[in-house]
């Protein structure tokens, strides 16, 4: 298989010694600036441009570029192109140039070796992003462009003045001249300095002698020149106008009549032997980005390839030690490292090892079958890695191959494939498509671009200062998020969110919440914004109200209940030492853990979070506590709070599987919050029932006074449904008097009248009676304490159970009376 992409490398200028910015902090390294700026190039997709696949930062300000590659270039063609070929070359180059121009990008080093030709004989411009990504050359110490093809004004004006699109038109003019005159290279014998003088001397041409005719004469090609069709001469003359003002832009040139005069579509710029076509592998059906992603998983490493080819040379540090360092920090006598000069050698990256790695994969895996009901017929289950831990699955070439192929297909079908995406995402989400999968899980739809475009992101507001001081402190270890472009995107998305949500305000922490979306949608701010806008109402409804204390306190009270429900011992201990969630869990929930974990962990955590509802994060919190359960149980307040001041190591995969387990065995009503967003259409599939069977709002004070959560009548009925749960999962503890109990009570319930409990004791104890023994034997079931109405006794008794270490204790909301509504009370049978 032929290489499909290639690497090259250069150095960014490093900032001198210890220079600081005005804020006293180090300047952003140029390579980071380049890294952030160049991301947009990866989104360019044009038939005549080589796609940028990756930008990688190495040590010492090294930047490595991975780009689509074609071995054939204009420079390598044996014969000059015929007329049709020249017109086609010109036309395709111009469409590519006008495309990059529309993104405010100028090629600046257009030359025959940067004009690649693909297998179909079409132009593929290469290296068109170098000038742009280096800040128009300002972040690197080498000049950009080949002097032979450079427009004269580039030599004349101050190098600070940026080149415009017309610079490329001149270069194209020279390239066309070479082809039209059939000279391999103009002025082949001239050295660099002479060459520059030569180009500048062209300025002496006047209206009588055009640049083109003069070159033709100098190269003794006059007869060839005279034989050229008028329209071509006119085109080249226009390109080689000395005054940039007289020179048309690529866009204008495309309107020239010559392109209507000739039909060149069918013409191929390079004939290729047919044998090459035969070896086409199924891998070539994959988008280049997937191919590159898999190449890396299969062990591809750009840096080491470049090293192998001698492009990256390491020098013993002793050789780069300066002779003299002055006290002020100036460095003298340092030998210039030759490797820091530009060497734009292009190193094709071989696909052989990837091909070998994927050799066992059957052809059918390249084209998974998805039915109209979006059932996936050919899935990755067949792959050996399917049962391995997530971290390994994410690095397994074959597994990821199947996942990316599948998810690409599913995403193409979104929103129709929504359910299949959810189902597949439960297994895992391939990192390559995570951004788009998240958007699908968040049900982002519609014209998000327009919505974002129309949102004011510029007008200064009083929150700007806070946003500006927060961004440079938000996940800045990450290259993307710490780049200048990253900061700009952060600011715009956050401002847009504040602008679009007048009911809310900017709270510190929103920046962290925004970070994963910017990271994943770095080239698609509108998408990052749309995801953030969908995420917040789903998980953090009302959290960003100016006065959010009721919302947060309710949330934390429910968190306390969740801990009590699942881990009474831990709950009792934390209660005892006063380690309350207010002191440690606000950053957890306010940012959905994005402030407390590094990005790779957040990504995995949110992969799961996005599949759960608004109560899921509570279980994540519990699972985190549980990972440090032993330490917590044996520590006092100070040690506990110190432990969580800076979140300790958490095994995310285990945390998530624990969270899912908690989530699945907890009745939803126990985490009811009045500030949660009302479940929309989707949530209402259960038949509506009597309002008394549902939860209703409690005040924060009430919630805080109760140690155990409440369960709704509806959830209890559901749990009592023996057709659903043949082995009962729940036991009702009826605390009413025996008289009432005997008239009618919940199926399977036991009666421990509240009078049996001594509610005045400091350390409440369980009474001793046969019913309590039954209760203890049923440890592990959901224990629902039910009294007459909302009896305070029920709450106290539940607390006694909790203090005695019984798990899964809750109180029936509104008491046993609600079961009457469902006619569920039966006469108890003796147990």
């Amino acid at each position: 298989m032929e290489p499909r992409f290639a690497g090259m490398t250069f150095f960014a200028t490093s900032h001198a010694g210890d220079v600081c910015g005005t804020n006293g902090l180090p300047l952003t390294p140029n390579s980071i600036t380049i890294y952030g700026r160049s991301q947009i190039l990866r989104t360019f997709s044009h038939p005549n441009l080589c796609t940028y696949l990756d930008i990688i930062r190495g040590k010492h300000e090294r930047t490595m570029i991975v780009s689509e590659f074609h071995a054939q270039t204009l420079a390598l063609l044996q014969e000059p192109l015929p007329l049709l070929g020249i017109v086609k070359l010109c036309h395709q180059t111009l469409t590519a140039l006008s495309y990059i121009n529309s993104h405010d990008i100028v090629h600046r080093c257009l030359a025959p070796d940067n004009i690649m030709i693909n297998a179909k004989g079409n132009v593929k411009l290469f290296n068109y992003g170098l000038y742009y990504m280096t800040g128009k050359g300002s972040d690197v110490s080498f000049p950009i462009g080949n002097p032979r093809y450079m427009a004269p004004e580039v030599f004349l004006v101050d190098s600070q003045i940026a080149s415009g699109p017309k610079v490329d038109v001149w270069s194209l003019g020279i390239i066309l001249t070479e082809q039209a005159l059939g000279v391999e290279q103009l002025w082949p014998e001239l050295k660099l300095a002479q060459l520059m003088r030569k180009v500048l001397s062209l300025i002496n041409c006047n209206s009588d002698t055009s640049v083109f005719s003069r070159i033709a004469r100098e190269h003794s090609c006059w007869s060839k020149y005279e034989s050229l069709p008028q329209s071509l001469v006119h085109l080249i003359n226009s390109c080689l106008q000395l005054n940039p003002l007289d020179r048309p832009t690529p866009k204008e040139l495309l309107e020239f009549p010559i392109f209507k005069e000739y039909s060149f579509d069918e013409y191929s710029l390079a004939e290729r032997p047919d044998t090459l076509v035969e070896t086409t592998h199924h891998l070539n059906s994959l988008p280049l980005q997937e191919l590159y992603y898999l190449w890396r998983l299969a062990g591809g490493d750009v840096q080491s390839e470049l090293k192998k080819q001698g492009l990256i040379r390491t020098m013993p540090p002793i050789l780069s030690v300066p002779r003299l360092v002055l006290l002020e920090g100036s460095v003298l006598g340092k030998r210039r490292d030759q490797t820091s000069l530009l060497d734009l050698k292009i190193i094709p990256l071989s696909l052989e090892s990837l091909r070998n790695r994927l050799a066992p994969v059957p052809v059918s895996a390249y084209y998974p079958l998805i039915t109209t009901k979006s059932d996936v017929l050919n899935d990755a289950e067949e792959c050996d890695a399917a049962d391995l831990p997530l971290i390994i699955r994410e690095r397994d070439t074959e597994y990821q191959f199947r996942r990316v192929v599948l998810f690409r297909r599913l995403l193409e079908g979104y929103p129709h494939t929504k359910s299949a995406i959810v189902r597949e995402a439960r297994k895992d989400i391939p990192p390559l498509y995570r951004g788009r999968v998240w958007a699908a899980l968040l049900e982002v739809e519609g014209d998000i671009e327009a919505h974002y475009r129309e949102t004011d992101k510029e007008t200064p507001t009083h929150t700007d200062r806070q946003i500006e001081v927060d961004i440079p402190r938000c996940h800045q270890y990450d290259e993307l998020l710490s780049s200048r472009d990253g900061h700009r995107k952060f600011k715009r998305v956050l401002k847009a969110w504040v602008e679009r949500n007048p009911q809310y305000v900017y709270w510190q922490g929103l920046d962290s919440l925004c970070a994963p979306f910017i990271y994943l949608n770095f080239n698609n701010e509108a998408m990052a914004f749309a995801c953030l806008s969908a995420f917040i109402p789903k998980y953090l409804h009302r959290f960003f109200l100016k006065d959010n204390s009721a919302v947060i306190r309710e949330y934390l009270a429910k968190f306390t209940h969740v801990i009590a429900f699942h881990d009474p011992d831990l709950s009792n201990h934390l209660q005892e030492i006063g380690f309350i969630p207010e002191l440690f869990a606000i950053p957890w929930f306010l940012t959905m853990f994005s402030h407390v974990f590094p990005l790779p962990k957040i990504l995995h955590l949110w992969d799961q979070l996005l599949l759960g509802d608004a109560s899921f994060p509570l279980y994540v919190g519990l699972a985190i506590l549980q990972q440090h359960r032993d330490t917590l149980l044996s520590s006092g307040f100070n040690e506990c709070i110190l432990l969580f001041s800076d979140l300790p190591e958490v095994d995310i995969e285990r945390c998530l599987s624990d969270s899912v387990a908690f989530y699945c065995c907890t009745p939803r009503s126990t985490t009811f919050r009045q500030h949660e967003r009302c479940p929309s259409k989707a949530g209402l599939k259960n038949k509506p029932c009597h309002p008394d069977l549902e939860m209703s709002a409690q005040t924060v004070a009430e919630l805080q006074a109760e140690s155990c959560p409440r369960i709704s009548g509806a959830d209890l009925l559901d749990l009592l449904d023996s057709s659903k749960f043949p082995r009962p999962k729940v036991m009702v503890i009826d605390i009413r008097s025996p008289e009432l109990y005997n008239v009618g009570s919940a199926p399977g319930s036991i009666n421990i009248p509240h009078s049996r409990f001594d509610l005045t004791q400091e350390i409440p104890q369980l009474p001793s009676c046969p019913e309590v023994n039954i209760l203890l034997q049923n440890r592990g079931k959901i224990l629902v304490v039910a009294g007459q109405g909302d009896s305070p006794c029920a709450i106290q008794i539940a607390q006694i159970f909790l203090r005695n270490g019984l798990p899964k204790v809750c109180v029936l909301h509104r008491g046993i009376d609600v079961l009457q509504l469902a006619n569920l009370l039966t006469k108890p049978t003796a147990i």
Partner: protein, 215 residues
């Protein structure tokens, strides 16, 4: 992990002599460098990209004064105005406070004055308050004159120093000055009594008096 509190102790924390434990709270506008000061004091480090604080963070550090070992239990709070409602939870019952502003930012000085007023009204009457003009390394872009801050501090009976978390200037000094000024009349048997922190949080009565460094 579990002994992070222990790691924060300096080698000179011999246990002879008195051991006093004080709650200290840091207050001040966002991004003035509260967390950076604490980090410098507790771990001797400076992070350029110090993360913003949400809610509050808790750290401890011990300093030695002649025959007394002073253990600070430090609450580093969030600076954004919106988190204001949480602040009383941390300063109630605190025996010391450092109010931080950024010498390159006039607004942060104004905000510091507001904090001083609030503490004078709401916190324990004997609370020791220090004013820290942080980022002293950026004297080139100074916006708050040292004299002005000193005069204000004198008027209000505050300790005052210009500090730099970046260069470590006056960081240990300001904590030491506070330690000196705190009354050390009672003695604790063992440092790190479990209920210390909780008291801070739960003492809604605000009847707590300063100097009660022991339990």
């Amino acid at each position: 992990m579990a002994n992070r509190g222990g790691a924060a102790q300096r080698p000179n924390s011999q246990t002879q002599g008195k051991i006093c434990q004080f709650k200290l709270v840091l207050l001040g506008e966002s991004a003035v460098g509260k967390s950076s000061l604490v980090l410098r004091f507790v771990k001797g480090q400076f992070h350029e990209y110090q993360e913003s604080t949400i809610g509050a963070a808790f750290l401890t550090q011990t300093v030695c004064l002649e025959d007394t070992t002073v253990k600070f239990e430090i609450w580093d709070t969030a600076g954004q105005e919106r988190y204001h409602s949480l602040a009383p939870m941390y300063y109630r019952g605190a025996q010391a406070a450092i109010i931080v502003y950024d010498i390159t930012n006039m607004d942060s000085f104004g905000r510091a004055k507001v904090w001083v007023k609030e503490l004078q009204r709401q916190a324990s009457p004997n609370i020791v308050i220090a004013l820290a003009g942080n980022k002293a390394d950026l004297a080139n872009s100074r916006a708050v004159e040292c004299d002005e801050a000193q005069a204000y501090a004198d008027e209000n009976g505050l300790l005052f120093m210009e500090t730099s978390a970046k260069t470590a200037k006056n960081v240990n000094e300001i904590f030491l000055a506070i330690a000196k000024k705190l009354p050390k009349n009672e003695q604790v048997s063992g440092a790190g009594s479990a209920n210390q922190g909780r008291r801070l949080v739960e003492s809604d009565s605000s009847a707590k008096t300063a100097g009660n460094c022991c339990k």
